[in-house]
């Protein structure tokens, strides 16, 4: 069977599958993370013969720009099921924590998202969580802009790139966060939204920055509960829909926010906003 090995956020991920492997590797950004050899931490079995079976639904949302739905639930054996569209399936049984099975996707466009899910389910158990963020690196540290879609995360990081020296973008949509030797770290990933920013790199996190559009630029350091509320909505939404996943996610978030400062930045899309956040994070430690 055809297979390939990738390293994503310091986890070795083996993709295997006769039909879909080539499609998977052709997804923009994926090849950046290929490695020649290593023992896999995560096995993603593509083109797996999964049978459709009833499951208890816990979550449902739109995919493919609103043309389809993803349903998430738990099957009779207690395994997590994701159904993409009419019949494309992903199954994750936590009793085999490193293994994820996917059926052949009915639409090629589902595969990118399905692989993101396939990474994130075992990833959570291994201390790696994708965080919806635009992340810029300055002076060797990552600044993670968080916020709902459309609030201006990418705009803010672009302002850093324009006005703050010694900066580069790590990822524009879904970097992966983990504790690396006890240090909260942001990793590049193959999932970067519409911006092709695929970097096999990692940096300690300088701060979490939750953005809101406001008529003037102001920044405020957050306490524990607010920091939790700032980070949790930026983690995979399905993790909040069943008790066990939410337990794991809370432990993860605890670990990160106990070691990383979080701020709320109300801002305009201007140079002043970037200078304010840069000054606060890097000039007043």
């Amino acid at each position: 069977m055809a297979e390939a090995l990738l390293n994503i956020a310091d986890l070795n991920v083996r993709f295997s599958g006769d039909i879909s492997l080539e499609h998977a590797l052709n997804i923009p950004g994926m090849r950046t993370f290929l490695i020649p050899d290593g023992a896999p931490d995560i096995e993603v079995r593509l083109d797996h013969p999964l049978q459709a079976a009833p499951f208890h639904e816990v979550h449902r949302f739109e995919i493919a720009d609103g043309h389809s739905e993803c349903r998430v639930g738990i099957d009779a054996e207690g395994a997590y099921i994701y159904q993409f569209g009419a019949s494309s399936l992903l199954r994750y049984d936590e009793r085999r924590p490193g293994e994820v099975c996917l059926s052949t996707m009915e639409q090629a466009s589902y595969l990118r998202f399905a692989l993101w899910v396939a990474y994130s389910l075992p990833g959570l158990r291994m201390g790696r969580v994708p965080v919806h963020s635009s992340t810029v690196v300055h002076d060797g540290r990552a600044v993670m802009c968080l916020g709902e879609s459309g609030t201006g995360k990418s705009t803010h990081t672009r302002l850093w790139l324009k006005h703050i020296p010694d900066c580069h973008l790590l990822n524009d949509d879904s970097p992966i966060v983990a504790l690396r030797d006890g240090v909260p770290t942001a990793y590049g990933s193959p999932w970067s939204g519409k911006t092709h920013c695929y970097r096999q790199e990692h940096f300690p996190i300088a701060a979490l920055l939750r953005l809101e559009q406001r008529p003037e630029n102001r920044i405020r350091r957050l306490g524990t509960v607010e920091a939790f509320s700032a980070l949790q909505p930026s983690c995979p939404p399905s993790f909040a829909q069943d008790e066990h996943s939410l337990d794991l996610l809370c432990d993860f978030i605890s670990g990160i926010i106990s070691l990383t400062p979080a701020y709320r930045l109300g801002c305009l899309p201007d140079e002043g906003a970037a200078r304010l956040s840069h000054h606060t994070l890097f000039c007043n430690p």
């Binding site: 709902e148 524990t224 509960v225 939790f228 509320s229 949790q232 909505p233 939404p237 909040a240 829909q241 008790e243 939410l246 337990d247 809370c250 978030i253 605890s254 926010i257 106990s258």
Partner: protein
């Protein structure tokens, strides 16, 4: 025939049995005791409520069974060195806030 009048406001606050929402779970996050209530729709509508020490004590005392205001008052009196009037006031405030957050149901 034998009409009787009740002080209906009094009845509402002291006699009615209520329960802590069974879906409520308290989790410890960096030393804070929080309750997370995912919104059915948008992720960013997730609500997080932090319980201070006395709120947590009331939760632990009253979860899993129907209770009335008097039970909450008693729980506070058992644990804290306060007079009954204060305990009653605090219990009422706790119930009101929990209700507002959907954490107490009738």
């Amino acid at each position: 025939m034998f009409g009787r009048r009740f002080d209906s406001a009094q009845l509402h606050t002291t006699r009615e049995a209520m329960r802590i929402n069974e879906q409520m779970k308290v989790r410890s996050v960096v030393g804070e005791n929080i309750v997370i209530m995912p919104a059915a729709g948008k992720v960013d509508m997730t609500k997080v409520v932090a319980l201070n020490e006395s709120a947590l004590h009331l939760y632990n005392s009253l979860a899993g069974r129907p209770f009335e205001l008097s039970d909450a008052v008693e729980a506070l009196l058992r644990e804290y060195d306060v007079d009954e009037a204060t305990a009653r006031r605090d219990a009422e405030a706790w119930i009101a806030e929990m209700r507002e957050n959907g954490l107490i149901t009738d």
